[in-house]
């Protein structure tokens, strides 16, 4: 299925806005959340550290009080060593003055008092509210191999026993502080003990409630749980028990650090697989370690509540923003759709299609709407103008076509022009740059004289063509009365310059060839000099007096020149449209090229020469726009 939602402009913009806003919100939120969590973590560590220290201190106070009590009473054992039975009283008094101690023994070395037998261990203990005494050592209870006796004896220093479950009657967890007693020779003779129920330990540790779901642990030197939220684990499991099959050695590491008496904290995955912090601190006196485990959920509950609220608010806000964007942008761009429909109609030619109503809006949409309205109006006006202009142009073009036809009809176009004469061959052509041109050629024979001319009117188009027509008419008229080229041109100059307010002029070369004698009289009025050539003689420009173009100065006297043409001589007359024909790279056809081409074509007929020259010019132009009229006239004199 193709996902087309994004094709909607409003949806796309809305999504972009939403994405950018969402990204900014997320980034801001993440920075805030991480900072907040870090801060909470620091506070939690400080709080846990202080609370643990206080708890350890309270535990230590109790343990210390027991140690002090025992140490303070030890001297009595030494003093009354000669009186074994007084040991019961010493133990009893210890209990009387220290309510926390629930039992005390003064356990002697084997056979210390021969009269008392192998075992002698006076023991006072609490029996309900009273204090009872008994002799602890019997065959079935060889106290010499009990931890509380054997370990301090071997270590030869006071020792807090690892807590144990007392099955002798108390049915509670106990620990025993043992103080080895030495005689004057430094030899151990007895171990003075004080039993302590660990109910207070659980209470003191239990009072450490950092978080609603936090729980506390106490482990002994061997890692055995002394306090644990699961009572069945107490004294039956160690902190390492559950780590047998664990790949994660975090808990093992924590256990070792706790046993080593270190203080610190770590992150663990507890039984419920939730991540927890575990803070731990040692009770140095006994080698225990107190730990409090707090789940991340607990520690970061406050931050997480704020996080949840922010997420909900942000999500709702983004949703609202999306709806708002969609609605607003759709409202804004809705006219565009209608405008687009109208524009499509306009584009299809229906310029009068009304634009949809928009109301008064001064925003970009209003500007766009106004611009389209203006464009529609302009287009409509333009189309009207275009229609009129086109009609006008068509009329002008039609007139120009007619003018061109008239103009072309004025110049002789029948070749060979004098089929009855064998002494002259002549060919001419004219190629206007526009519909009508300003170039002119003409020729006629009168009284065995060939009048021929090529002229170029300044400028192009209709003005030039009009002047060309005038020039041609005047030339015909005057040539029939005046026989010399200079006279004809002088008259022509006077006639043209008389009312030449527009300052136009005409360059012209006029030749009169006496066909019987071969004498050529010619006069040049600022025109390009013709090229003279024969089959044997190279083409070269005819030496001409330039004079000035016609129509510039009234009364100018033109100088005439004369030349006798030999048989087979050719003259090539042209206008500057030939030598100045441009190639696409603006290179001129040039006079040199003209001479070169004429040398190449010199043995051809005038028709051939002119046509070949025209082709050479076209090849040179290579499709470039023709900038000036091209006129060529070639005559070949062949006297009989």
């Amino acid at each position: 299925m193709k996902f087309t939602v994004t094709r909607s402009f409003s949806t796309r913009i809305s999504i972009y806005i939403l994405l950018v806003t969402g990204a900014i919100l997320c980034a801001t939120f993440l920075v805030f959340y991480r900072s907040a969590r870090k801060q909470v973590q620091i506070e939690a560590e400080t709080r846990a550290s202080v609370s643990l220290d206080n708890t350890v201190l309270r535990i230590d106070e109790v343990l210390h009080s027991v140690e002090v009590a025992l140490t303070n009473n030890a001297w009595q054992v030494d003093r009354y060593i000669h009186c074994p039975d007084s040991m019961f009283s010493i133990a009893r008094r210890l209990l009387e003055s220290n309510s926390i101690i629930i039992g005390s023994a003064i356990a002697f070395e084997p056979d210390y008092y021969p009269e008392k037998g192998h075992f002698f261990s006076p023991y006072a203990y609490r029996n309900g509210d009273s204090i009872a005494c008994k002799q602890l050592g019997v065959e079935s209870y060889d106290y010499h191999y009990m931890d509380w006796y054997q370990i301090p004896k071997l270590l030869d220093r006071p020792y807090w026993s690892e807590p144990y479950f007392d099955t002798g009657g108390g049915e509670k967890i106990m620990t025993t502080y043992s103080l080895p007693l030495h005689d004057g020779n430094g030899k151990l003779y007895a171990v003075f003990t004080a039993d302590l129920s660990l109910e207070w330990l659980a209470q003191k540790v239990g009072s450490l409630k950092l978080y609603p779901d936090s729980y506390n642990l106490v482990i002994g030197r061997s890692g055995t749980y002394l306090v644990h939220p699961y009572p069945e684990r107490i004294l039956t499991e160690t902190i390492f028990t559950a780590t047998y099959d664990m790949k994660d050695t975090t808990v093992v590491g924590i256990g070792h650090r706790m046993i080593a008496g270190e203080k610190g904290f770590a992150t663990i995955q507890n039984d419920s697989l939730s991540t927890s912090y575990i803070f731990y601190a040692p009770v140095e006196r006994t080698g225990w370690s107190v730990a409090v485990a707090c789940t991340y959920d607990d520690i970061f509950a406050g931050v997480d509540r704020i996080r949840n609220r922010i997420v909900i608010i942000a999500a709702a806000g983004l949703l609202l923003l999306l709806v708002f964007c969609l609605y607003t942008i759709r409202q804004l761009v809705h006219p565009l759709t209608r405008l687009a429909n109208s524009i499509r109609n306009i584009a299809q030619g229906d310029l009068m299609t009304p634009l949809p109503p928009l109301g008064k809006r001064h925003d970009e949409m209003g500007m766009l709407y106004d611009s389209f309205g203006f464009m529609q109006h302009s287009l409509s006006e333009y189309m009207k103008e275009l229609a009129a202009t086109t009609a006008n142009k068509e009329r002008i073009e039609s007139e120009l076509r007619i003018a061109s036809e008239i103009q072309m009809e004025m110049i002789p176009k029948i070749f060979p022009p004098f089929p009855e004469r064998k002494d002259i061959d002549l060919f001419a052509t004219i190629l206007p740059a526009k519909a009508v041109g300003g170039d002119l050629y003409d020729f006629f024979v009168e009284n065995d004289c060939l009048f021929f001319t090529v002229a170029d009117v300044s400028g192009k188009g209709i003005p030039a063509s009009l002047l060309m027509v005038v020039t041609r008419s005047l030339f015909r008229t005057m040539a029939s009365h005046l026989k010399t080229p200079a006279a004809i041109l002088s008259s022509l100059n006077d006639a043209l310059s008389e009312s030449n307010e527009s300052g136009m002029f005409v360059t012209m070369f006029l030749g009169v060839l006496h066909l019987k004698t071969g004498v050529l009289a010619y006069c040049n009025a600022g025109h390009n000099p013709p090229v003279f050539f024969t089959q044997q003689e190279q083409a070269h420009f005819l030496q001409v007096t330039p004079n000035i173009p016609l129509g510039l100065f009234h009364g100018f006297s033109y100088t005439e020149q004369e030349l006798t043409l030999k048989a087979d001589a050719s003259l090539f007359l042209y206008t500057d449209g030939v030598t100045e024909a441009e190639s696409p790279d603006k290179q001129l056809f040039s006079e040199e090229r003209l001479l070169k081409e004429l040398d190449r074509l010199s043995d051809g007929t005038p028709t051939f020469i002119v046509n070949q020259m025209m082709e050479a010019i076209h090849r040179h132009a290579a499709g470039a726009e023709q900038s000036d009229d091209i006129t060529m006239l070639c005559l070949h004199y062949l006297p009989q």
Partner: protein, 318 residues
């Protein structure tokens, strides 16, 4: 009437058979070596699953205490069948206490010395050190090794070794691989060097069941039935370890033994492994003559006994 008479006779017959069985059921008091743990799982299973009852036995478990060992119970006559290690049994027989092995479960030796600190890397490093041993016994092999290697070890008898070991009051302890060693590991202590007695030429099998020669003579069928049911119990335990652990843990809780299920699971796995001959997975459940011969020779050489004890003698064949 005929039908009623048949039903009556049928019911009377069943009553008679049941009554006969109950009337003949033998009461046997059994004392394993130590307090309840997976080391004796097969016997607990046989009791719990009624295998003893099926053999017509009424078995009472009477666990020993620190002050009253299984042997004391046997000598007093309060227990009929006890658990003993082979080396102890041969020593007792050699000392003139006539005992008969009725079932040998262990086929390998689990005894080891575990140093407290890792600076003890060889037996030589134990020279003159304090090493813990059970006060209740089981340590003949340890003393033999000490004498053979002339280590002059100061043996410290203990009842409960864990705290003694952890506190550093002793430099090393003798341990069973399926029991004390596992507890040491559970204390987070990971010894780098341990010494198995089996690696020093003392691969003598351990746990077996014993009765006095007199009792064996007079109650041969009963003790054989007890052995059969016990083997059945052990086989069932090997096939159903979790249910077996359930049974063991019920007893552990009843007797307030400070242990846990995971610990007992490890012990069960280890004990079941020790019941297989080395490099095999089969449990023969019987005494091998060469093991008796070797144990007897060791004790004789070391002066514990003054005459050899034979396989025939210990199995009651004489």
């Amino acid at each position: 009437m005929k039908i009623y008479r048949c039903i009556f006779l049928y019911l009377f017959g069943i009553w008679g058979i049941v009554g006969n069985i109950y009337g003949q059921s033998e009461r046997i008091v059994f004392t394993p070596q130590w307090t309840p743990q997976s080391q004796f799982a097969g016997y607990y299973v046989a009791q719990a699953k009624g295998f003893y009852q099926e053999e017509g036995l009424e078995v009472v478990f009477d666990h020993p205490s620190a002050s009253s060992s299984a042997l004391n119970r046997l000598e007093e006559g309060s227990s009929h069948i006890i658990g003993l290690q082979l080396i102890q049994a041969i020593k007792l027989i050699g000392d003139g206490v006539p005992l008969v092995n009725i079932l040998q479960t262990s086929q390998r030796n689990s005894l080891m010395i575990v140093p407290r600190y890792n600076d003890i890397r060889s037996l030589e490093d134990l020279r003159g050190k304090k090493v813990g041993v059970w006060k209740a016994g089981f340590c003949e092999l340890a003393y033999m090794l000490d004498r053979r290697e002339k280590l002059n070890i100061e043996w410290i008898p203990f009842i409960n070794y864990v705290n003694l070991f952890v506190s550093g009051a002793i430099d090393a302890t003798v341990a069973m691989s399926f029991n004390e060693y596992l507890q040491i590991l559970a204390c987070g202590i990971q010894p780098q060097h341990v010494f198995y007695f089996s690696d020093f030429g003392y691969d003598i099998p351990e746990d077996g069941l014993y009765v006095t020669a007199d009792y064996y003579r007079t109650h041969q069928k009963a003790v054989q039935a007890f052995a059969r049911a016990s083997v059945k119990g052990w086989k069932w335990a090997a096939q159903h370890p979790q249910e077996t652990l359930d049974i063991v843990m019920r007893l552990v809780r009843k007797y307030h033994v400070a242990t846990n299920r995971l610990q007992q699971q490890r012990m069960l796995e280890n004990v079941l492994e020790l019941q297989c001959e080395r490099h095999t997975t089969t449990r023969p459940f019987r005494l091998q003559p060469e093991h008796v011969e070797k144990a007897s020779a060791l004790l004789l050489d070391d002066g514990y006994i003054h005459r050899p004890v034979t396989y025939q003698e210990i199995t009651g064949a004489l």
